[in-house]
């Protein structure tokens, strides 16, 4: 499941991807622009920094910046750090597996087996998508609409 944490983390990464390379962004600015509580955002940015996706600098001219170009950052990789191994239900994971309270046989539970397939499909899609591609998704729609308007 995409949690609020995952959603806000992605938005923050997209925000950073939209700023000129090397320019530091304050967390206040990201919080304000995306309507996220600053306290929650700071915790998310801390996780992203621990994983090495962003760099942080304190003090004047400080802030956050992507550690790599957005073309090299995969959306699926960001979400794993924030939301764990992309499991739709807690037992649909191999290494961070959590058993359901009413579980009778995890190896044969059809719901779990189906959800494992689902999450592998999710990760296959999200691991192909870079942050840069994600960012241009909305703008491609604008281009399509513009083209439609021209051709109309």
């Amino acid at each position: 499941m995409l949690t609020m944490k995952g959603k806000y983390g992605l938005k923050a990464m997209l925000h950073l991807a939209g700023t000129p390379a090397g320019k530091m962004v304050l967390s206040e600015e990201i919080a304000r622009t995306n309507g996220i509580s600053k306290k929650f955002l700071d915790a998310i940015l801390g996780d992203l920094r621990n994983a090495g996706f962003i760099h942080a600098r304190k003090g004047r001219n400080g802030g956050y910046v992507l550690s790599r170009p957005p073309e090299e950052i995969r959306v699926g990789h960001i979400l794993r750090v924030l939301d764990g191994p992309l499991a739709p239900i807690p037992c649909a994971s191999r290494t961070a597996y959590r058993r359901c309270n009413d579980c009778q046989d995890e190896e044969r539970c059809q719901v779990r087996l189906a959800m494992l397939e689902v999450r592998n499909a999710i990760s296959a899609i999200l691991d192909e998508k870079t942050l840069a591609q994600f960012r241009s998704m909305g703008t491609e729609l604008d281009d399509d609409l513009a083209e439609l308007a021209i051709n109309a």
């Binding site: 950052i73 995969r74 794993r80 750090v81 992309l86 597996y97 691991d127």
Partner: protein, 456 residues
């Protein structure tokens, strides 16, 4: 493009595996020329040993030459006369490396000129250059003769320093006799990994009685093999693209999780193994550098494990005081009097881990067993040196190999993939990281075979 003649440069394990893979899967029209500078094939640094106690570091069950036929080596062992003297109860056993060399030699017999269909030509000589022409490639030997083909594949293996008897620093791949080490001599080995263990075992077997000391930054020895049951891991479980420190934390958490369920760290390492290439490729350039600097040793002692027999030998040597392990930093050495071969000595300076005091010790020989990760710009053979100088190939930014793309095509100075020059095996480690063991190399050879087949 019709690739009916492929030139493979290097007849060590990588070159032989590739030749066999290509010949067995392609039609009758494909011919291969294998250029090897040593006397025979299969004699790269891993398998060019006569020492019976130099055994494979990988269990027999994983050493098949073919990715799609994992029992191939096991079947060969059961059928081969050469393997009779060795105890091979099941696929979890470790046989001498010279036996594996025999396997590599026999592997290509069906295609040799004598006794085979003649599609594989083994050319004895040192290849010093490869050039691309309009319709193909030309490989030039040191003798001046040249060989034409449609595609060239570099399988030049590990770039290790060449042995010269005048050098005070010996290297791991020379026998004690060749190096002129006296039985009583005090020996310092740099490194405490698998090469050091090979070297120490060979010294002890040759009747050496002098003190042997091994020095490395952390003084960590490879951990022993045990039967493992790899845990099942999906790509969705692995935190790709994160920093090595984060990955290491995840690895430890996963080991804890597996141990709670009655497993072992080996189950986790072996479960991750199919994804090591993807993990490596997902690291940032800085992350790769940090991995090499801080996490590589930790990874290698867990990943490249020691057969139980060798582990026992090392333990006995440590207990009896034949071998001493030091954790510390090697600072340098100075020669005292005559050269080591003439009975002179070397003063070695080092600093123990966690200490500031510089210590020195007098030894007769220093052997470099710091491993196979070397800069091709410094240690490359004549061919690699020439390709780098002409800009046909370029050194990767980490300085551990040459750059290739995901299809194993060599990348030139301009950053363009060469159409007709490819590479396999350890020389490609900057792109794939784990390409030093047979299971990884055979997968790479199978992928390259499919690539060539698609081009035809």
């Amino acid at each position: 493009m019709s690739a009916s003649r492929i030139i493979i440069i290097g007849g060590g394990a990588s070159g032989v595996l590739l030749a066999a893979q290509l010949l067995r899967t392609s039609g009758d029209r494909l011919k291969i020329a294998l250029i090897e500078r040593r006397g025979g094939i299969g004699r790269g640094i891993a398998y060019n040993t006569e020492e019976p106690d130099h055994i494979l570091n990988t269990r027999v069950g994983s050493m098949s030459a073919y990715a799609d036929d994992p029992e191939h080596f096991w079947r060969w062992i059961q059928a081969s006369e050469a393997a009779k003297p060795f105890c091979v109860a099941d696929t979890f056993c470790f046989v001498p490396r010279k036996l594996y060399r025999r396997y590599l030699e026999e592997l290509v017999e069906p295609w040799l000129k004598h006794g085979g269909d003649g599609r594989l030509e083994i050319i004895h000589g040192e290849c010093v250059d490869v050039t691309e022409t309009d319709g193909g490639v030309a490989a030039t030997l040191a003798s001046g003769e040249s060989h034409m083909g449609h595609i060239a594949v570099l399988a030049t293996g590990h770039h290790v320093p060449s042995f010269s008897s005048g050098n005070a620093l010996l290297h791991a791949w020379v026998s004690p006799e060749e190096a002129g080490i006296q039985e009583e001599a005090a020996v310092l080995i740099l490194g405490t990994g698998l090469s050091m263990i090979d070297c120490a075992i060979q010294l002890i077997n040759s009747g050496h009685r002098g003190p042997i000391t091994a020095l490395s930054r952390r003084g960590l020895l490879p951990l022993p093999h045990k039967r493992s049951q790899p845990i099942r891991i999906d790509p969705a479980d692995i935190p790709f693209g994160t920093d090595p420190a984060y990955l290491l934390h995840w690895f430890r958490e996963t080991v804890r999780w597996a141990t709670e369920r009655g497993g072992d760290w080996r189950d986790v390492v072996d479960g991750i193994r199919p994804y090591t290439r993807q993990i490596w490729q997902s690291l940032s350039p800085g992350g790769k550098q940090r991995f090499l600097r801080h996490a590589r040793t930790f990874w290698e002692i867990h990943r490249h494990r020691l057969p139980p027999e060798s582990d026992l030998r090392v333990r006995l040597a440590l207990q009896s005081g034949r071998l001493e392990i030091l954790a510390g930093r090697f600072l340098g050495m100075e020669q005292q009097g005559a050269g080591p071969q003439e009975g002179g000595s070397l003063t070695v300076r080092f600093r123990r881990r966690g200490s500031r005091a510089v210590e020195s010790r007098s030894v007769n020989h220093v052997i470099d067993c710091t491993g196979i990760l070397r800069d091709p710009a410094d240690h490359g053979d004549a061919l690699i040196t020439s390709l780098l100088a002409r800009g046909i190939a370029r050194r990767d930014p980490l300085g551990i190999g040459i750059e290739v793309d995901g299809r194993c095509a060599v990348i030139d100075r301009q950053g363009t993939s060469r159409r007709r020059i490819f590479a396999v095996g350890p020389v490609t480690r900057a792109q794939f990281w784990e390409v030093t063991s047979i299971p990884d190399i055979r997968n790479q050879c199978a992928a390259l075979g499919a690539e060539f087949a698609a081009q035809r």
